[in-house]
Symmetry: C2
Subunit: 461 residues, 2 copies
């Protein structure tokens, strides 16, 4: 391992130059105008993986953007790690807010500025460079490594689940490792073991078959905005618990160990609230802000519209009111089951004067990774080797649907070992990534390969 670490340290500057070359390719997946650039990026990665000495490296076309796969075969008796990453990026808009052009990477201080520098080109490239360190020193990594790099993460990953289904055998592995998350804070390394899921629905209440004059009809015809507001207003009780019947039935409760780990995190609630301009939080009764925002289910109205929304006054009694409502789910809530429960609750409360339209837009399951696994232990030890302190195990409030896909289709847990920071401005202008974290990530991955080979070998082989 020392040789590989030394190699990475010596070549650090070239690694950054190569990442800069990758970041100049504008692989914006959601905009068809960039389709050839996305493909070019995939081809660049296949070439690069081939040059590193991959046993195989290939580009597979899909209905959308290509999926890049590669295999670094080390030995049949050795455990296998499946690396997931995505080489597509968010659109750079609004361009006017970038201090330097998004696809002309520039280093300022210790930070590399470019779209994708952190999310996720910078983080996936750490895996390629860790593999290079092994290939150029010992000729092979200490574990078998497979890579699956998609180009549609920022536009819904439409092709990925089908690809995983179709290539189940080829993708067979012992564990998935993903670097597409953040550390808890600067200098506070963490490994993510919990993700929330999601049920997202759009609903409408329709009353009269056209907009009416509120002078003529107001008082006798029930107003769909008032009625929808009443429903949404009743979805939480005074304890800020969600009132949908059965909503909490399947929720896996936080253990006291988890709550202690969360309470120990260096989380400054006042600063966190101040940063978004809010003086007081509002959580489900009995839960801290961090628990409520990462490990408890939620219900938020994400959008609402109805009636006259232009300037001034129009005395309309509207025909219809609509809303988008999403629920962040925790294990073991099932997205479709939760949608059905919400629908039943809303139908029961729909006034006899109205019609409810209810449409589920998408769903994703929440994930809890087994924190006692060999891979998690190896990852924790690898991170500790880099930072000198044990990483915190954290849950995050967002969703990474591919993690549930790997679990469902391949039966594999994912180790979410990320090196971003919430301040990296991913999805925003002036996205950046710390060169220190880029180097630390490569080191942690090299260490993980070696540690996991040792620990899984002694455990399982």
């Amino acid at each position: 391992m020392k040789k590989a670490l030394d190699y990475a340290a010596v070549k650090a500057s070239r690694f950054v130059d190569e990442l800069i070359e990758l970041l100049t390719l504008p692989s914006v997946s959601t905009d068809p105008a960039y389709a050839d650039k996305v493909e070019k990026t995939a081809a660049w990665l296949v070439d690069h993986l081939g040059a590193l000495g991959a046993t195989s490296a290939r580009l597979t076309a899909t209905q959308g953007h290509p999926i890049v796969t590669a295999h670094f075969q080390a030995g049949d008796a050795l455990p296998t790690v499946l690396v997931y990453g995505h080489y597509d990026v968010q659109p750079p808009d609004p361009l006017a807010l970038w201090e330097s052009p998004p696809f002309e990477p520039v280093i300022k201080g210790s930070q590399l500025y470019a779209r994708g520098s952190c999310d996720d080109k910078g983080q996936l490239f750490m895996h390629l460079k860790a593999l290079e360190a092994w290939m150029r020193t010992t000729g092979r990594p200490p574990v078998n490594v497979k890579l699956i790099l998609e180009g549609e993460e920022e536009c819904g990953s439409a092709s990925l689940p089908g690809f995983i289904e179709e290539h189940k055998e080829w993708l067979d592995a012992d564990v998935v490792i993903i670097s597409d998350t953040s550390m808890f804070a600067s200098g506070v390394p963490s490994i993510t073991y919990g993700l929330r899921g999601m049920t997202y629905v759009e609903v409408s209440l329709t009353g009269p078959d056209r907009d009416l004059h509120s002078g003529t009809y107001g008082g006798a015809i029930e107003n769909p905005i008032n009625a929808l507001a009443r429903m949404i207003g009743n979805m939480h009780d005074a304890d800020h618990r969600i009132t949908i019947d059965g909503f909490y039935d399947e929720v896996v409760a936080l253990t006291s160990a988890e709550r202690q780990e969360m309470a120990a995190l260096p989380f400054d609630v006042a600063a966190w609230l101040k940063e978004v301009g809010v003086s007081v939080s509002r959580t489900e009764r009995g839960y801290s802000e961090l628990e409520a925002a990462t490990a408890r289910p939620t219900l938020d109205c994400n959008g609402i519209w109805g009636g006259y929304i232009g300037e001034g006054a129009k005395t309309v009694l509207p025909s219809r009111a609509s809303a988008k409502i999403s629920m962040r789910l925790v294990p073991n809530q099932n997205p479709k089951d939760i949608a059905a429960k919400l629908q039943a609750w809303m139908e029961a409360k729909t006034p006899p004067t109205m019609r409810l339209d209810f449409r589920m837009i998408h769903g994703a399951e929440g994930v809890l990774v087994d924190t006692d696994s060999t891979a998690m232990a190896a990852a924790a030890k690898a991170v500790e080797g880099v930072y000198g302190c044990r990483p915190f195990l954290v849950r995050i409030g967002g969703s990474i649907p591919v993690v549930a896909d790997f679990k469902r289709i391949l039966g594999l847990d994912s180790v979410l070992m990320g090196f971003g920071l919430d301040s990296d401005a991913i999805h925003s202008p002036n996205e950046h990534f710390g060169l220190d974290r880029f180097a630390e990530g490569i080191e942690a991955i090299i260490r993980f390969h070696a540690l996991y080979a040792d620990m899984a070998g002694s455990d399982e082989h």
Copy 2:
């Protein structure tokens, strides 16, 4: 009176031809592109009034469109009637839905189709033709008649209250008569004695200072849409009464005589609901549909918006949610007082995590005209003379702010004697007016002049 009625009957066809000429002038007040046409219409009316033999007829320029005034002096000892009407019209859009061009009047069957045919050119022209009948037969009307015809009714009547204030003395009269309302139904003549007022406000709740990611913050930061929905949802109780503290304090209750008159009206609730696609009404407990829609105060959310309202899903926890809320008021509710009560109620319910912005857009007082006055008795008798049956006294749910202005500034009650029908499509494509009703209206006005002269003369002079 008989001579005047006979004259009107003989000249009916020419009266329609003249109305058609008036209707070809596109006096759309809200669109500056039509400004010269509005002015041309005012000038046409001044010329026409002069030709009828008005003592004076003039056009007064305002900040907006001109106000036309005229005086038919009959004698200092006689009572004076002030006629209000408006010569401006609604925009004709959407043009594609008109079966004939809106400013090329056409007679189909017994109906005259054109923008303004009913609202209000057709109805105000009845007053001019009634005056003509007197002028050409007896040389003067039996009462003094003053006319005030504005050109900004369809865009807010901005100039009118100031004009009334400035010309108080000239406008001095015994009663105001307005033909800008509908009959209760075809063959069911009515006189309107009650109008609702209005308080219209726009409100916003602001939480975080920008839109947040619901995965990162959902569960710990209160959502302004959910909070605003809760407030709006709580503005009615289970009896559909409005819960704003003190909202009903000043309401003048319906008398049992009024309720009996309303119950006697030929009002087909099922047909009324079916026409707007609703199977069940929702009224304040204890009140009929007609009472609730015309004589009880209401609260309707006229528009709501916040968060993401485009296609698909965006997991935003919005910074702000906004709504337009209007309350139809009844006498003696004060529009500003009601706004203050709503604001206090909302402020008390605003979560400590949010800021409430509250803005009153406009207000108008409700009106109840004394139904026992000589003018009302004369109007009822005039209508009965035309239709052979006593007109119903009705309240309507909308607002005509000028009625409150005449009361407040001049101390005058208004007699609302209108000959429209709800089916005349005013403000819609294919607006029309019945030629029978045009002739009946002229006859009723002639009768009113004579009856009011008699009855007011014997009462008051």
